[in-house]
Structure formats: C-alpha cells, structure tokens
C-alpha cells in the first residue's frame, strides 16, 4: 500500500477498540521547582501517595502503571524508571512501563493509560510523570533537553532549544505582525496565574517592563520567554466510568486523548509557524469527543516558550492562523477572559519538569473542573477543559479533552 490511510480510517479503528468510557478518579502533583531535598523516587512517591489517598484505594487495586520520564539517564543516571517507580510505590508485581517522547512524555503516558482502560484490558491504571532535573549543572541539563531535537543537523550546528523556538517566533513576527510586547504579555499573564498556585515553581508576579528588559537568550526570546528547569512529579488514577463513582463523587471523564507525530527537525516542517502535530491531534480529539471549541472553558497549553502559547491557541483551533497573538494581546487568556489559558501558570511559571508536565497539566484541568483550585485562578463553573502537551519543537503532540459530565 503506497498511500497513507485516510484519517477517517484511524477514527474508525479507534472507535472499534474503545470498549468503554474512562474517568479520572484522582489526580495529584508535587510542588515544582528546585527541590534539593527530594530525589526522583521521592517526587514520584509524593505524587503517588497523594493520588492513592485521594482515591481512597489501596495500592493493591492498581493493575498497571505507566510513567512519563524524558531523561532519567542524563539527569540522574537512572534508567528503568517504570520498574523503579512501581517498586518504590509498592506496586510489584504489576506491569510497569516508562514512556519517553521528550517533553511530551507525560502526555504520552496518559494516552497509553487511557488506551489500557478504554480497551478493557485493565480497570485501575496509574499514570505518572516524573523528572528530577536540578541535580546536574545547567550545561548538562540543556544537553539532555537538546536531545529532543535533531542532533546531527540542528544541535551539531549550534542550535539551542530557545534558538529553535526563536526561529519560529521571528518568522511568525515577519508573517503576522506579532510584537515582542505580546510575547511579554504571555509571560506576565502566566506569572500572574502562577502567583496564585501554591505548587508553582515561580509565585512572583512580573511587570511588562521586567519581561521586556530581561537579558536575551535567543533573540527575540529573552529570559522571561523561557520556562525554567524544574523538579516535579504528578500522578492520576484512571478507572472505567461505570465503576468510577465507587471511588469518587466527582469523576472527570476523559472525552478523548489523541497523539500525533511530525518531523523531528524544524528544518523539515511544512510550516515553521504551525505545529502540524498539534493541528492533527486537536482535530481528531474534538471529533472523537463530539465537542466544539466554543464549549471549552479552559485550556492548558505547552508554553515551553511564550511563542509556543501563541501557536498553540491557533493550532488547537481557538484562533485563525496568524491571529492567536491577538487573543493574548487583548488579555482574553486570563482567568475571567473568554479563553483562560494556563490557569496554573503554565510551563513558564508553574514549572516544566519535562516528563511530568503532560500529567501535571491534566491534574490542573481535573482540579479546575472539580472547582478545587485557589480562589482568584478558579474558572467559574468549568465543565470542559483541554490539555495540550508537546515534545521537542513539535514532533509529538498529545491533546486530551476532559469533562465534568
């Protein structure tokens, strides 16, 4: 067969294997940041215990564990993370799997766990994400992160991760008239949301002037356009919807969870101002969920750099191509606005423990839909939320749509 299968064929296959609806019965995350007193196992343990206690289940009820982790090997000299976390959480002898897709590792872990329950193979599945990044010098950490791009044709020629996103930002500015001030506004907004999130890496607010006058990292991106290097973990527990109420009064329904891939290197992209992986994952996620964009009350997007938040708003379908920056510029992305984005502070302020981020975003949506986050950043009567997790410069994207009913 020479041609690619039509997207609709995939949809039919998905529906065929989906035997039942899936719900999240508990969700927990650790604080993000420089946590010198905690190692990788401690972080995973903390998130795991919080989630298990919240669900009121015993570890024995968990049948399968999936853990997102980008680079335990390079950050802490530890591989074999699936078994390690299962062991440390006392879950032996259940199957345990570590998945890796750079910064999308957590999102992929969720997608895997969702499939395991939706297909009917397992009932109670734990999906975790963990990254311990601050035990190595920054030089070493950025080396590990640069593994998410094409080593031979990008990093080898002097590309850095901020540099890759700066190339997207510069072209986007050229094509659509985005100004640096708008990018700064994205950072200011995310710090504002983060200041009300007790688990955030940064709880300080910043001014537009501070953001604009910060030292340059890769022009046009300055320090406040870039997310930090964080330690952190998150864990959610999934169950078939039909039994979810046994564990919680407020199960959160997984309407869809979809993953898509694209070229690893930016230089091969169809358009560097669009993440096609996000477009494809989002289109299918909305189709499978039978939900319209206008019904969504809040979104968590992968703002590893401020420009990524602008692109995500467009690629997810909440603004036309070239107009996502206007949504940010007008302040519609604040809690209380038309489209609250990154109500936890996003990667920028709440932190980016790479392998944990995709799960951490889902924890935020769950808490928002249950009305459990701090006042000031709670979206009123939130019914439907979306989480968007990206790997590298857009080679991987996972879009998950969650709803209260």
């Amino acid at each position: 067969m020479h041609c690619m299968r039509e997207a609709s064929v995939y949809t039919e296959v998905d529906m065929m294997y989906k035997k039942r609806d899936v719900a999240i019965i508990s969700a927990a995350a650790t604080k993000c940041g420089e946590q010198w007193d905690k190692g990788l196992k401690d972080l995973a343990w903390e998130a795991g215990v919080k989630a298990v206690e919240e669900a009121g289940i015993s570890g024995k009820d968990i049948e399968y564990l999936v853990v997102g982790n980008m680079s335990g090997g390079m950050f802490v000299g530890q591989e074999h993370i699936g078994a390690l976390v299962a062991d440390f959480l006392g879950l032996n002898p259940i199957p345990s799997l570590r998945v890796e897709g750079a910064c999308a590792s957590g999102g992929i872990a969720f997608f895997q766990g969702y499939m395991a329950v939706a297909s009917g193979l397992y009932d109670i599945v734990a999906v975790g994400g963990v990254e311990k990044m601050t035990d190595v010098e920054q030089e070493h950490a950025t080396t590990a992160l640069s593994g998410a791009m094409d080593f031979e044709w990008e990093a080898y020629f002097g590309a850095t991760f901020p540099g890759i996103y700066a190339l997207m930002a510069r072209r986007y500015m050229y094509e659509y008239g985005l100004k640096k001030e708008t990018l700064a506004k994205v950072a200011v907004k995310n710090h504002y949301h983060g200041s009300m999130n007790s688990l955030a890496h940064f709880m300080n607010r910043i001014s537009l002037e501070e953001a604009l006058s910060a030292p340059m990292v890769a022009e046009p991106l300055g320090k406040y356009d870039c997310c930090p290097i964080s330690d952190g973990a998150a864990l959610v527990i999934l169950a078939p919807l039909e039994i979810a109420r046994k564990y919680t009064d407020t199960p959160i329904i997984v309407k869809s969870s979809v993953m898509a891939s694209d070229t690893l290197s930016l230089l091969k992209r169809r358009d560097i101002c669009t993440l096609d992986a996000t477009v494809n994952a989002a289109e299918k996620a909305f189709r499978l969920a039978h939900i319209e964009r206008s019904q969504v009350n809040l979104i968590e997007v992968h703002d590893c750099f401020t420009i990524a938040e602008v692109l995500a708003i467009e690629d997810l379908g909440f603004a036309k191509k070239g107009e996502g920056w206007k949504v940010c510029d007008e302040g519609q992305t604040y809690v209380g606005g038309n489209l609250p984005v990154n109500t936890d502070g996003g990667l920028k302020a709440s932190g980016h423990p790479v392998g944990a981020t995709g799960v951490k975003q889902i924890v935020e949506i769950v808490k928002q839909l249950r009305g459990e986050v701090e006042r000031g950043r709670q979206v009123n009567n939130a019914e439907i939320g979306l989480a968007h997790n990206v790997g590298g410069s857009g080679a991987t994207a996972v879009v998950t749509i969650l709803a209260r009913r």
Binding site: H2, T142, E154, Y156, G158, L167, L267, K268
Partner: protein
C-alpha cells in the same frame, strides 16, 4: 553536548563538508537532511545523492546569546534557517555578517568553516556555514 566519538563526525562528514542532500529521481523532490525514502513516492521512489548549489535565502534567524560550552566563544552568533534555491531548508550559522544586519530574505551562500572544538581529546569539527551572498563579507576581512 556530550563527547562525540570520531565515527559520529566521520559518517556525516561528506554531507556536512559539501552540503550533500538527496533527490528522488521519480518525482524530482530534493531533501535535506539526506533521506533514504521519498515520502511522496515511497517504494516507487529512487533516491540518489545530490550536491546543492549552496545559494539560498534566510527564511528565519535568531541571535544566540546563551549557548552550550562548545559554542560559547562564538556568542552572540546568528543561527538561521536557510531556504536553499533547490527548495529544502538547512539550519546553519550565518558568518561574516553583523547580528544587526541579518534579515529575512537576505541572499546567502555556503562557506566551509570550523563548527566547534571539543575539550580534551575531542576532534575538531568542520562543516558548512553561510555568509551574505552580496560580497559585503569581503569588507570584513
């Protein structure tokens, strides 16, 4: 970047020294980095090696201020996506050009330069960079 073993430099050296990509003889598409399969023609495609002219335009650029150790001494340096006249894009540094002079659409040509040195026993790596095609670089010599 961690230490890179000599074979890892050597196996890509020709492509990096001469800006070699690949071409599908069935549909005429050109690719960079070199590929082994034509995504359009797939099994019907016939992939051969091709040398690019080295002429192109800047598609996007950034000035890198914060770089890994091996590139630190070059900061601030210009990193660009160069659109080759044959179509594919390459990621490369732009040299013989001041950071404030670079712009999208600027005509550039390939040149052969040192890319980086690694500490200790690491070998010195060479490959392509690009410079302004209007000869303005000569005044900087």
């Amino acid at each position: 970047m961690s230490h890179i073993a000599p074979p890892a430099h050597w196996r890509r050296a020709k492509e990096r020294y001469r800006l070699l990509g690949s071409k599908c003889e069935n549909c005429g598409s050109t690719f960079f980095p070199p590929t082994k399969v034509c995504p359009k023609c797939r099994r019907k495609g016939r992939i051969v090696q091709t040398e690019f002219s080295g002429k192109g335009k800047i598609y996007s650029y950034t000035i890198i201020h914060s770089a890994p150790k091996m590139f630190e001494k070059y900061t601030p340096y210009i990193l660009a996506l160069v659109e080759l006249e044959e179509g594919p894009k390459v990621m490369s540094q732009i040299v013989d050009c001041k950071p404030e002079e670079v712009k999208i659409g600027m005509a550039v040509e390939v040149c052969f330069r040192k890319l980086f040195e690694q500490d200790g026993e690491g070998i010195i790596s060479y490959g392509f960079k690009f410079r302004p095609a209007d000869n303005s670089w000569k005044s900087l010599q």
